[in-house]
């Protein structure tokens, strides 16, 4: 069994800035536990020499030359923002982080 608890789900939700109801916490706890347990089974199956795969396509060293390309204009950049001022994105003051 996984160690997924309702408190952990609430913590994950707060990290992701998602508001969840108690009913949702119960539901997600169950669903996430199932996922974690399933992954644990896969982990068991490949125990040993199988290297973890982060990129399924065998590609590497895809680089961009250090050459300037056109940027957006300030108007374009801000056009999708809910609010802006002085050429900048305007956001709520967030107090609980640095």
């Amino acid at each position: 069994m996984s160690e997924l608890t309702p408190d952990l789900v609430r913590h994950l939700a707060s990290l992701a800035r998602i508001q969840v109801t108690d009913a949702e916490v119960d539901r997600f706890t169950e669903q996430l536990a199932l996922i974690v347990d399933s992954v644990a089974i896969v982990n068991k199956a490949v125990e040993g020499d199988v290297p973890a795969t982060s990129h399924p396509i065998p590609m590497e060293n895809v680089f961009r030359e250090d050459v300037v390309e056109p940027s957006l204009t300030q108007e374009q950049a801000l056009s999708g923002a809910p609010d802006s001022a002085q050429g900048r994105f305007k956001v709520n003051a967030i107090l609980d982080e640095e």
Binding site: H55, D66, E69, S71, L72, F89, E98
Partner: protein, 500 residues
């Protein structure tokens, strides 16, 4: 914590062993950002160097800046690190408006460089080896301006404005292993280490390395433990200390603050702290997040970086001389005494003096101008002497004007002020203002005779060997010449006159 609540520094060191750890962020001076072609520039209009990639619009795809990878490898090699044959990027997930993507693209489990070491000398001359755990590539975040708070601090702010020009600028974060054994010199070591990093990245040409612009930023971890204790104490991480002096002060403050808490049986909270340069103290920031909270996972949009052996070796072959070796070589070449040389290094003036000598000045003259008059003028102006707007070629020219006797030292100092004021090259200033010393012996002798006429006793005094009497006449001649005479020559001529 108020100043009087801190533990006395010596007492703190008697009771506790200091362990520090430093995280230095170096902003690379690539033309473009880490993952997109937006300009990497300081001071542009807000949100003009942004594109769908660096403001995280859906469907945009990043691509790694090749030059940034090469610069990171160069930094790793210069710090004696091994370069990872394969490395990947990772997402560090956090919700904060300084990055629009809600994650920072960084490296986590596979940094590009690891296991290095840097020898650092502190002002006393003691040397320490700082072991480097890793150097990894990541992107810088945007700049937030808090509006509505009384002082622009986040406390009390009503809202924040975000400029993403800096978001996505390439950074290399260099992380040390815990540094033990610096004792009372831990604050100096922290500053000297950052100074060395700055020196190295400048020598490599991979960063502008200007701390006042945030090109080099330091987070200082400090923890204390009782002498003889094996387990590390709880650490605090003081953020964004943005000058060498602040680093030293912040580390010293944390040592005294933590010692006071621990001595009373209290516990240190693991947290980030903010250094306030104006008040000379740190204040609590946010509680340090658990690494797990960042939910790192491999970045699916970027493929692994596998630098070839050939690439690594070609970068290694092109590394400039190690700054420490260079210091040793230059001190020998210039024949500076240890103290003289240390002053030069501590003032950060080695490059300037090297260039001044290359432009034709004698080593001692170059040293005297930079560590003497220029340092004094910078200091009076509240500036760093290394940041003065003056070219080494001008200083060399000035030094040689004095050396050759065209102007004297005092006039030289006036000329320097004019050079700093942007009035042109020293030789031009001297000729346009007619500042050459009066080298015409006839004119000098005339002035001497005039001075002697009003002080007739002096000539007898000199004949009787009472040379101190000559001062009044030399002074009068210098005054008559508006300071533009070589006092030594006036003295010679005066003695000559007396012996006639």
């Amino acid at each position: 914590m108020a100043k009087d609540e801190l533990m006395n520094y010596e007492q703190a060191l008697e009771k506790f062993e200091v362990v520090i750890g430093l995280e230095v962020h170096v902003e690379l001076n690539t033309k473009t950002k880490m993952f997109c072609g937006c300009r990497n520039d300081f001071g542009d209009e807000p949100n003009t160097n942004v594109c769908p990639i660096c403001i995280g619009l859906p469907g945009s795809l990043p691509a790694v800046n090749k030059r940034a990878v090469e610069s990171s490898i160069a930094i790793g090699l210069a710090l004696g690190c091994q370069i990872a044959p394969t490395g990947r990027f990772a997402r560090k997930n956090y919700f904060y408006p300084d990055l629009a993507k809600n994650f920072q693209t960084s490296q986590y489990d596979e940094p590009i460089a690891f296991e290095g070491a840097l020898d650092v000398e502190v002002p006393s001359g003691n040397k320490f080896t700082v072991n480097i755990e890793r150097a990894h590539m990541e992107e810088d975040a945007g700049k937030l301006t808090h509006i509505g708070g009384s002082t622009g601090r986040i406390q009390g702010a009503e809202y924040s404005l975000v400029d993403y020009n800096r978001a996505g600028v390439p950074l290399v974060e260099i992380v040390t292993k815990p540094v033990y054994g610096a004792g009372a010199e831990a604050p100096e070591l922290a500053a000297a280490y950052v100074r060395s990093i700055r020196e190295i990245v400048r020598a490599l040409g991979v960063s502008e390395a200007r701390m006042e612009r945030g090109n080099v930023r330091c987070d200082a971890n400090v923890s204390l433990r009782p002498h003889g204790e094996a387990k590390l104490g709880t650490r605090t991480e003081t953020k964004n200390v943005n000058s060498l002096r602040s680093i030293e002060r912040a580390v010293r403050y944390e040592i005294q603050r933590q010692a006071a808490i621990l001595a009373k049986g209290g516990k240190i909270t693991q947290e980030t702290r903010h250094w306030h340069e104006d008040r000379g103290l740190t204040s609590a920031g946010r509680p340090k997040s658990d690494t797990d909270d960042y939910r790192f996972f491999p970045e699916p949009d970027l493929v692994p970086v596998k630098p070839s052996h050939e690439l690594i070796e070609s970068i290694r072959a092109s590394l400039p001389e190690n700054p420490a070796d260079r210091r040793k070589r230059l001190q020998a070449e210039w024949a500076f005494a240890d103290l003289e040389f240390r002053d030069v290094v501590n003032a950060g003036l080695m490059d300037q003096i090297e260039e001044t000598i290359a432009a034709g000045a004698k080593p001692q003259a170059a040293r005297k101008w930079w560590t003497g008059e220029l340092a004094r003028l910078a200091n009076a102006d509240g500036k760093d002497v290394a940041d003065l707007e003056v070219s080494p070629a001008h200083i060399a020219e000035l030094a040689n004007l004095v050396e050759s006797g065209k102007i004297n030292d005092r006039i030289g100092r006036d000329v320097l002020v004019a050079v700093l004021a942007g009035e042109g090259a020293p030789a031009d200033i001297v000729s346009s203002k007619g500042l050459e010393v009066v080298s015409d012996d006839g004119a000098l002798l005339a002035a001497i005779d005039e001075a002697l006429a009003s002080q007739p006793d002096v000539i007898d005094a000199i004949r009787e060997g009472r040379m101190q009497a000559a001062g009044a006449v030399i002074g009068a001649v210098m005054k008559a010449m508006k300071g533009q005479a070589d006092a030594a020559r006036v003295r010679e001529l005066l003695i000559q006159r007396a012996s006639e």
